[in-house]
Amino acid sequence: MKPANMMREMVVGPQPTKTSGSDRGSPDLAEDDLRRLYRFMSLTRAVDEKSWNLNRQGKISFVASCKGHEAAQVGSAYALRAGHDVVFTYYRDIGVALTLGMEPVDLFMSSYAKPARTNGSSRHLPWHLADDKLRIMPVTSVVATQIPQAAGAALAAKIKGEDVVTIVYFGDGATSEGDFHEGMNWAAVHRLPLVFFCVNNGYAISIPVARQMPVVNVVDRASAYAMEGVLIDGTDPEEVYRATARAVEKARHGGGPTLIEAKVRRLRPHSSDDDDRRYLSAEEREALQRHDPMDAFRRRLIHGHVLDEAGLNQIDAETKAQVERAAAQAESAPEADASTLLDHLFGHEQEGDSASAPPHSKLDPLSLGEGSFFS
């Protein structure tokens, strides 16, 4: 059993590297950074709350809330070089996207199923992030598939000799899939510049971690790959930032992959389609609410004289207003056009090969099926 301080940062794994203090040279967070972290968390919370409310009003059909995950998402993304490092997310990682610079409207466009450049909006499910400018890679809803894909992206960076680090996000449930094992194994065998960031919220829908895996922590799995495992309190954005920054810099300098496990609590059901009262008692649900990362961080900022109550409220008011505008903009955006249904199944060009390549014949998706459907 773990001691009471299990939520504190600790290093596990077979060859534990000393990570206490700032011996990896990861910069300490200045007050400005803390205020920025708070703003991103506040923005994330505001998007999440608004989305949940829109769902309850019947305006958007699906939300996988990230309430409770904000510190893990924002703190880790804050350690990345936006637009340079490669990012694989999963379906509730809006805090990662917002921290990297995605506009809230992009998230609402996807929730409203309105067509937009990013996130496969209108085709893909809400919050299935994709943005080439931010190097947020496309993902599906299929749990864990992005994990070995991230190994591929990291392998490419290594082959190309770039100083790009790849980070991949996933839940505790994802670690049961074979793809988790295969991705960890590849990364470790090839010592890839890759950070595995597991957000352990204790449940895969209704299934508690104890019915998913025989070990107490996800990081207990790191030793099977001779990989460093770092267990952190995912409700503390500073701790998340420091651990991620260290892992990222290690990866950037040839030190290979790290598995970070950020323990968080789910402050809402799994998704807007889930009713957690079926598997959690009122007491259990109430206990979860005590781990709201916003509350803790607010207290810390006040206590450290970084921001006072009024300053925090001011930020919250600003992000809320920003979010209201974004949601309204998405709500009034035009619906998808049915005539686009067949577009973009295949490319018509041979990228980078336009000169030497032969013309591909008959690549029009129209010829691949219902040619007359729209004609």
Binding site: P115, S141, I205, R211, M213, D274, A336, D337
Partner: protein, 322 residues
């Protein structure tokens, strides 16, 4: 009145009562499953027979296979058919081949339940049709009930079947299809149902599209075109005789499904007709199907994807006039 999903639940419950070798396993089945098919099962049958699996579909199938080889009758739930793909190796290379490769020494009585199909605003990963991916594989049976009665009756057959059965439940029907009385006995596999008699042309279909075909047939009737609607119920065994009989009678055929057109189940049925009913055909065998793209989340795109009653009616008119 029981809904389609209640019929599933009742069938499963009845079989677990009847045969203690039956177990269910899958993600979240313990708390009832995301569609409530196993609601209350843990209380009645205990966690030994109602098993919350880790989030790992390949092992859900593999554990089912191993348990079947050791005497149980596992019913695996794949939460959405869209997530059956990680288990395809265990289904196609393992379950489907056990009896044949061991010449009958071993067999693999497993049932794999999976909600499939669109029309519920589920987007690309809660809408997929996967039946055609398995139709091609020798050794697998496939059921696709379209009514609440069949949902229960075919499920009883599936669970009692000595071979692997993929049981695809169209989730659009879960709460929309209802039955006054559910059957107590299994509905046999391989027997298609004529859902509506007709003279002028036959629509061969299955799953949710049965109901759109019936709507279109109703409208066509008002225009003086008599349409027969054949519900396949199981895709393997496929009731080839019923298909041939219907088309021999009407001389014209439309094959209808929601799944992508190319290489879909409709291709097999068209090919069957082109090969074995050629002399009886008075017109081309028309396929109405989803286009060869993926499901989309936007309701505009989803509607554009799904074969509509109007589109069916349109093709009925054209073929009738041929």
């Amino acid at each position: 009145m029981s809904t389609f999903i209640e019929a599933i639940r009742e069938g499963l419950y009845q079989e677990m009562e009847r045969d203690e070798r039956v177990i269910v396993l899958g993600e979240d089945v313990g708390e009832g499953g995301v569609f409530r098919a196993t609601e209350g099962f843990v209380d009645r049958f205990g966690r030994e027979r109602v098993i919350d699996s880790p989030l790992a579909e390949s092992s859900i199938l593999a554990v089912s296979i191993g348990a079947a080889l050791n005497g149980l009758r596992p019913v695996a739930e794949i939460q959405f058919a869209d997530y059956i793909h990680p288990a395809m190796n265990q289904i196609i290379n393992e379950a489907a081949k056990i009896r044949y490769l061991t010449q009958g020494m071993y067999h693999c009585p497993i049932t794999v339940r999976a909600p499939f199909g669109g029309g519920v605003h589920g987007g690309p990963f809660h809408s997929q049709c996967v039946e055609a991916l398995f139709l091609h594989v020798p050794g697998l049976k496939i059921a696709t009930p379209s009514t609440a009665e069949d949902a229960k009756g075919l499920l009883l057959s599936a669970i009692r079947d000595p071979d692997p059965v993929l049981f695809f439940e169209h989730k659009y029907l879960y709460r929309r299809q209802k039955a006054d009385v559910l059957p107590d006995e299994p509905v046999p596999f391989g027997v298609a149902a004529v859902r509506r008699q007709g003279r002028d042309l036959s629509i061969v279909t299955y799953g949710a599209m049965v109901h759109r075909a019936l709507e279109a047939a109703e409208l066509a009737d008002k225009e003086g075109v008599s349409v027969e609607v054949l519900d396949l119920r199981t895709l393997c065994p496929l009731d080839r005789q019923a298909i041939l009989d219907s088309v021999k009678k009407t001389s014209k055929a439309i094959v209808l499904h929601e799944d992508n057109k190319t290489g879909g189940v409709g291709a097999e049925i068209s090919a069957l007709l082109a090969e074995e009913a050629f002399e009886h055909l008075d017109g081309p065998v028309v396929r109405i199907a989803g286009p060869d793209v993926h499901f989309s989340f936007s309701h505009v795109l989803e509607e554009a994807y799904l074969p509509s009653t109007e589109r069916i009616l349109d093709e009925v008119r054209k073929l009738a006039a041929y």
